[in-house]
Each structure stands twice: as structure tokens, then as C-alpha cells.
């Protein structure tokens, strides 16, 4: 397995408040990692720092880019980072409405990254969009419909197609199943797992739902007050938690 993302001593503060600090970890191709913690623990801050949405105060984020090899995404130029954001990275938003263009058809949404990368053949763009709609289980005949006419679960799947069409290597997901009906969540989870496996990508999934991470993540990173307090294999962290806060988190989950 090859090293894809290496985070060293990452820190982000909001004035006197600590967003996250002293974050160090390495991630490899094919892994799914889940930062877990309570609301306000710093999960989303960490995700935003890694995905280039927030500039960290210090530290390095070394990402193995497809075109130029390992690069520090904190110090690279904004255009280079934007290019990464639409080629090697995918960011799937918690609310599909934030991640989709609601006034553009499903096909336009899915094709946008291709066009941003210079695809200029209408027929090709459309074929690829149809292929991806099918892969996320949306009927290809809906290609010209606007996302507003889609259900919540379909919007989430459309968002996934829109992000994965360029074959990213690193997928960021913020609360991937938040706000969805349980049965819809299940389908989405299974699809995500299949895509991670088939495309050999690295996924970082932020959620406070421990049942979701148990099914999705290989490794967990428990975060409290902006610090990583425990890391390990998902089943090890959940079944044999070491830190006091992790034990509290795990024991607070309702059993079903």
C-alpha cells in the first residue's frame, strides 16, 4: 500500500479557541478512516483544513498528487489546490443542496468536473454522465431533470456521482448519511463501500454516528477538544476502547 496523505503537526485556532491541534497521521491508498467525536470536537475543522477549505495556522498536509507526486497542499498556490479539488479530491457535502447546482440538470451537475478539466465533446460528456448516474442507481432517463425533482437520497447519490466522475484518490465526506431515512442510509453506505473498494481510493468520513463508522471505516481517530486522543482499527477502538473519553463515547451509543 502506498502513502497517500501525511499530516504533520496540523493546527487551526479561532482566536483563543482551538479548532484542532497537534494532528499527525498517515493514510494509505484503499483505506477508509473516520474521525469521530462529539459535536464541536474539531472533526469538521480538521476535514476543512485537509480539503483546503480552511487555511491551517501551522503544519503540513502532504498529499501524493497524481500529476506531480507528493506536495504540501498548505503551501501550494490556490489555483493548484483548486485543481486538486476537482481532480484528485472529492468533497461530498452533508447537505446535497450545498454540493449540487440545483438549477442545473443532473447531467450538467455530473459533467461539470469533466468540462472544468477541458472536456469539450458534448456526446462524450453525456455518455460518461449517463454511466455514472447508472452506477449510483439513478435512472439514466433522469439525466435532463433538475436535482430539485430528486428525493433526498437521490440527491446524495447524484452528489457522489458528480464528485467521483474524475476518479479522485481522496474522498472527504461530512456526515454522509445525515438527515436521510435509515433505509436510504443503508443503500448509500453500501454504495460507498463498493466504490471505495472498486476504485481503490482513500476516504475520510466524518460522522458522529458510530454505527455508520463501524460499517464503513477501517480505522478510527477519536477527537476531543481538537486533539486526537485515540487511534486504531475500527473494531478495536469500538470494542476495546482505551481512553476514558472513548469509553464514554462508545458506551453512550444506543444498542439496537
Amino acid at each position: 500500500m502506498s502513502l497517500l496523505l501525511s499530516v504533520q503537526d496540523l493546527r487551526k485556532t479561532y482566536g483563543r479557541l482551538i479548532g484542532c491541534t497537534n494532528i499527525c497521521f498517515d493514510l494509505f491508498v484503499g483505506e477508509v478512516i473516520g474521525p469521530v467525536g462529539e459535536s464541536g470536537s474539531g472533526k469538521t475543522t480538521l476535514l476543512n483544513c485537509l480539503s483546503g477549505h480552511l487555511p491551517p495556522d501551522q503544519g503540513q498536509v502532504i498529499f501524493d498528487t497524481r500529476s506531480d507526486g507528493p506536495r504540501n497542499t498548505v503551501t501550494m498556490s490556490e489555483p493548484a489546490r483548486r485543481m486538486l479539488a476537482r481532480t484528485d479530491w472529492a468533497f461530498v457535502q452533508q447537505h446535497a443542496r450545498d454540493g449540487l447546482r440545483m438549477n442545473v440538470s443532473a447531467g450538467g451537475n455530473v459533467g461539470e468536473r469533466l468540462m472544468a478539466l477541458g472536456a469539450r465533446h458534448y456526446g462524450d460528456i453525456r455518455l460518461q454522465a449517463e454511466d455514472w448516474l447508472t452506477r449510483v442507481e439513478i435512472d439514466a432517463s433522469r439525466i435532463d431533470d433538475r436535482p430539485a425533482t430528486f428525493s433526498g437520497g437521490m440527491q446524495q447519490r447524484l452528489q457522489i456521482a458528480r464528485n467521483l466522475i474524475t476518479g479522485p484518490r481522496l474522498v472527504f465526506r461530512d456526515e454522509p448519511t445525515g438527515g436521510l431515512h435509515v433505509s436510504v442510509q443503508a443503500r448509500l453506505l453500501d454504495m460507498l463501500r463498493g466504490l471505495v473498494r472498486d476504485m481503490g481510493l482513500l476516504a475520510m468520513i466524518v460522522t458522529h454516528d458510530l454505527a455508520v463508522v463501524r460499517l464503513l471505516a477501517d480505522r478510527l481517530m477519536v477527537i476531543k477538544d481538537g486533539r486526537v486522543i485515540e487511534t486504531g482499527l475500527t473494531d478495536q477502538v469500538l470494542d476495546d476502547p482505551q481512553a476514558a473519553h472513548t469509553q464514554l463515547l462508545v458506551s453512550s451509543v444506543l444498542q439496537v
Binding site: E31, A186, R187, L189, L215, D218, D240, Q242, Q247
Partner: protein, 227 residues
């Protein structure tokens, strides 16, 4: 194949004022290829805990657990993940799967994870489900709705789909009727024959006698302060 040396384990309960519960001490055990070792001892002696430590889902306090060139007690997470994908299978007491995924896909998943062709993987899954007496009409349904015995057999089908050289069996026959128990034991025997190293917990004594080559009583490793 599996070499356990001087492994100890204790649980610290932070919510109860840091109470420490020692479970195992100085556990030493070797399992050769083709061997099936049953862990025995009274309830609470640490059978499941030892199984989980071998699988890496529980942390050993000290000692080493070596197989396939990896010391699970010290290895990095990703090495354990690779080990689980290619070397070490685990039939646990719980079937944890994404709800709504068809049984056939659940069983085929370990094969897909190591890169088998989807068609071949499904074919193998069908074969195993048929052998384990899971009615064909259930293959397209999610196992989360199945009876206890059916779930157990799905679990076994899933973990025997890929030929792991090392296997952990946690009560594989617990909720099965005698007919199905026999059905389940067949693939275990078959795995043992070409040289898989198996560690298992079997409460049913006749079953244990049928499958296992020897038994190890973990009472020998009860920590002194707990005894």
C-alpha cells in the same frame, strides 16, 4: 501458523474510577497448520477476549501474537487489515452488515475485497449458500431479517468464501439444530484438511470432540490477583 507468547490483558474501566480488571496473564499457545484448537474454561475466563486479541480487535497489554510474519500485538493498523484480508478469517458471534444488502453480496464481499472477479465471487457465494442449506429464495434478501440459525450460516458462508490459512471460530454452531450443525462442520473439516490453523470456541462438547484436534483450558492463565 499462529504463535501466541506470554500474552496478558486487562481492562481499565475509566467510568468506574479506573477500576482495572485483569483477564489473562502469560498466555502461551501455538497452533500448527491443519490443527483445530478449542479454547475452554469457565465463562469469563477470557476465551472471546483471546480470540479478539488474535484478530486485533482487542489490544494485548504485553506479549506477542505472530502469524504470517505479522505480530498482531504490535503491528500497524494497515498491516492487520492486510492480514485480515488475506490470512485471517473470523466467524464472530455477531453478523455486522450494511442493512438491505442481499445475502449473496454479503457472502461474496471477502472475495471482492481481495480482487476476485464479481461473477466468480457470486458463483462461489451461491455454491456456499446452497451447501449451508440457505433457501434460494432468501439469497436476494438482507440477512438482517433472518432467524438466528440462518444468520449464523450466512456468517459461516461469508467467512469460508475465501480460503484463509488461519481461522477463528467463535461459537459457529451455537444456535443451530443438529442437522444444520453437521452441515456447518463439513466446511470446517475441509478447511482443516489442506492445512488451515483454526482456533475456536465450542460450548457443545460432542461438536468440539468432532472438530478439534486438542483443547486448551485458559484457566491456566487466570491472573494471580484475579484468582
Amino acid at each position: 501458523m499462529i504463535r501466541i507468547e506470554n500474552v496478558s490483558k486487562s481492562f481499565t474501566l475509566h467510568s468506574q474510577g479506573g477500576t482495572e480488571i485483569p483477564v489473562l496473564q502469560g498466555t502461551t499457545l501455538g497452533v500448527a497448520p491443519g490443527e483445530c484448537v478449542a479454547l475452554t474454561g469457565p465463562s469469563g475466563v477470557g476465551k472471546s477476549t483471546l480470540m479478539r486479541m488474535i484478530y486485533g480487535s482487542s489490544l494485548a497489554a504485553c506479549g506477542s501474537i505472530c502469524m504470517g510474519g505479522v505480530d498482531v500485538a504490535k503491528a500497524a493498523s494497515r498491516d492487520i487489515l492486510t492480514l485480515r484480508r488475506h490470512t485471517l478469517g473470523y466467524v464472530s458471534q455477531f453478523l455486522r452488515v450494511v442493512p438491505r444488502v442481499p445475502t449473496l453480496d454479503v457472502v461474496a464481499e471477502p472475495l471482492l475485497a481481495v480482487g476476485h472477479h464479481p461473477v466468480a465471487a457470486r458463483h462461489r457465494a451461491e455454491h456456499l449458500l446452497a451447501r449451508l442449506n440457505i433457501p434460494k429464495r432468501l439469497w436476494g434478501l438482507s440477512p438482517t431479517t433472518f432467524s438466528g440459525g440462518e444468520q449464523q450460516r450466512v456468517r459461516i458462508a461469508r467467512d469460508f468464501a475465501y480460503d484463509y490459512p488461519a481461522l477463528l471460530l467463535d461459537e459457529p454452531t451455537a444456535s443451530l439444530d443438529p442437522a444444520n450443525r453437521a452441515v456447518v462442520l463439513a466446511p470446517i473439516h475441509e478447511a482443516k484438511a489442506p492445512g488451515a490453523a483454526i482456533v475456536g470456541i465450542f460450548h457443545n462438547v460432542p461438536t468440539r470432540a468432532k472438530v478439534c484436534t486438542r483443547a486448551v483450558d485458559l484457566s491456566a492463565f487466570i491472573p494471580r490477583e484475579a484468582a
